[in-house]
Symmetry: C2
Subunit: 413 residues, 2 copies
């Protein structure tokens, strides 16, 4: 039942490199934080390209973009492919972007060959997957899936005090369509692995069976600003010393609960001056594990560490869980389509659970969903040095095309 359509590897690579100029950094990475001027540039480009091949582009109220191509039976909900075009502050050229631009390449191939699908086919660009400007991550796919109310997304504030809604309107991507209003027959997300396993095992395709559970926390530590020279050690309330003990404790929790991971990624020290004992520190904690019970144990260890370490230094603190995402299992019928597609091209493959969060984890709540992974060099991502080869990008796009068409054939009347 598989077709003989071939994606154009060169055209895909050129699109990846062309759009990498929107927010490109000196070190060859990308800084394209969600809803910035750079994000607007790539969105405008994406819209133009999709319209050029006959797609209809619609925008929902949280800026999610849908480029739709009609099928034989437009009463069927569309089969969606996609990911996100925003990046980390020092991100790479592939995380999220490959999933959108490979979907565009699939669409271009269908258009070029005049291939008619049963269901409509759709490319999606989800707003603010990264969450590094407006936490939490996967915010707009979360709204689409009914996890967050629209108002919750609108009121999120970045570290400069600007809201999601203000920035969405400023760049002209607040659409009128209610988020989640149209159904999906399925959702396929191609993504780089962001870990070292495929490369280490020399496999081309990761068959992603699910996503691990994740929890995010914020901690404020309070002490007392004081002069570094005139304040004896025994009279200090050093908030940074408390923060250092949290960084140490969080790392130890990750070590103890492997394959779980635990990280302090962001820290802000105040007043942050060479000759002032720090009086206040803000920091964030990220904990993940494939097993929810293990995550509960990690959380308990974390809270116990705070209770022990902070008051012992004469400090106070507030801790808040700001976001969590349960472990997810993807749709078996879609996983089968990916497996068949990879086999058709004779790509080496292995099943895996995603260590990173993805829009697909939320979409899985409302539609059959799965993901396809390709390797990235050294497992490095969220980094300007992030690298996936033209061959690996092409392999992912080909598997995406074949998996989508295989699934489309199951929808024939």
């Amino acid at each position: 039942m598989l077709t003989n359509l071939k994606i154009n590897a060169r055209r895909l690579w050129d699109s990846l490199m062309d759009t990498a100029t929107f927010g490109g950094t000196e070190k060859g990475g990308l800084k394209r934080l969600t809803l910035t001027d750079e994000d607007k540039l790539v969105r405008d480009w994406f819209k133009t390209q999709c319209e050029a091949i006959g797609c209809t582009v619609s925008i929902d109220e949280v800026g999610n973009m849908f480029a739709t191509r009609s099928g034989r039976d437009d009463s069927l909900p569309p089969i969606a492919m996609g990911s996100h075009l925003d990046t980390q502050p020092t991100g790479g050229k592939f995380d999220g972007i490959l999933g959108v631009l490979a979907a565009l390449e699939v669409m271009r191939t269908l258009h070029e060959q005049d291939y008619e699908t049963n269901a409509p086919i759709e490319i999606v660009n989800w707003t603010n997957e990264e969450g590094s400007r407006f936490p939490p991550a996967m915010l707009a796919s979360g709204v689409f899936a009914g996890v967050f109310p629209t108002a919750y997304a609108y009121e999120q504030v970045d570290r400069n005090g600007v809201t999601f809604l203000e920035e969405l309107e400023r760049i002209g991507y607040r659409g009128s369509m209610k988020a989640g209003d149209h159904k999906l027959s399925a959702m396929f997300e191609l993504h780089i692995e962001q870990g070292p396993i495929l490369e280490a095992e020399r496999k081309m395709i990761g068959i992603v069976t699910g996503v691990q559970g994740m929890r995010w926390y914020e901690v404020n530590v309070h002490g007392q600003d004081a002069h570094t020279g005139a304040t004896p050690m025994y009279l200090r309330k050093n908030a940074l010393l408390g923060a250092a003990r949290i960084v140490e404790a969080v790392d130890a929790i990750g070590q103890k609960h492997q394959p779980g991971v635990a990280t302090v990624g962001l820290i802000e020290n105040k007043p942050n001056s060479r000759n002032v004992v720090p009086g206040d520190v803000f920091l964030t904690v990220d904990m993940r594990h494939p097993d929810e019970n293990a995550l509960d144990a990690m959380e308990a260890d974390f809270r116990a560490a705070l209770e022990t370490a902070i008051p012992a230094l004469g400090l106070t603190y507030e801790e808040k869980k700001i976001w969590s995402s349960s472990a997810v299992k993807f749709a078996p019928e879609l996983i089968d389509c990916v497996r068949s597609a990879a086999a058709k091209s004779n790509f080496g493959m292995r099943d895996m659970v995603s260590g990173a969060g993805h829009d697909a984890a939320y979409i899985a709540r409302i539609a059959p969903t799965t993901m396809i992974f390709v390797p990235c060099e050294g497992g490095i991502s969220h980094n300007e040095a992030e690298a996936t080869s033209p061959e690996e990008c092409a392999a992912g796009a080909q598997v995406l095309l074949d998996a989508v068409l295989a699934y489309d054939q199951t929808l024939a009347k």
Copy 2:
């Protein structure tokens, strides 16, 4: 030989409160970083006030301001009084400012009473005492004293990449006078204690006999940015974990070598994102002790801690001592004048060594110098809550007046 001149306590307090609007913060403190627009405002105000009472204001090449009142014998070098008008990012209303405005109050009292001194009397406002924008601290008094070349001050860069010289010119305070070109007969610096001792012992005046030795260091820690979810604990190179161990080690060194102190005051984490394992951290270390040999031992402990902690985490680092200041002993003949002045007003007093660095520590290299301390509430400074009462400010100004006039009388021919 002491006069009966009385300073005007109300006028001094009004000047302190009036100028606190230049860079005033919501919490009642000051943010008046050196060579900013706010610094220019207070400089302009100070110049106007001094000229209004007949002083001649001159500016040197690093922005130090001198307001001079003629004496009976202008061939004598002036007796200087003063401190600095710049503050920490979250500083108070008294640190440095009291020393300049009390000197202004002394000058106003001399002018009002038409009192003729033997030597010229001078108020000094030293540029960039704090060093929190352009390290090191006491930069311009250091240039004046020949510790640093002028070019060294000019090329210092803030965290935004702007140079000292650019900002000095921008606010219009690059004078033509070569720094250090005119001699001083003496230098008296009134300052808040910035520590808890005078308050605890209910003493009004600290007779400052010297300043402890200080050393400043910078450390860069390098690891590898990586995705928090997809990077197993055993493959991480977490630069923030290394930094946390440095914060802990530096605190332990302070604890071990008391009455010495050791502090990490400033830390910058990169890329500082919730879901990225930190790849690079910059931090600063401040170590102080009254004994230079003890400081050597603290430095050795610090370097040993770096060598042990950082490579063990798979990280690399660079460490650099960016500044040091030896322990200082003040001029006995000036200390005697301060002691007599405090006794004349029946103020409780005690000898002490300054825990903080001051411009006086550099000026002591080229002229007889001493300091006068008054209490500050809870020993708190470098903080918006910094507080010294009107009575304590007035006591300090009165002792400054009497000490200066007592020293002036020793210069009579």
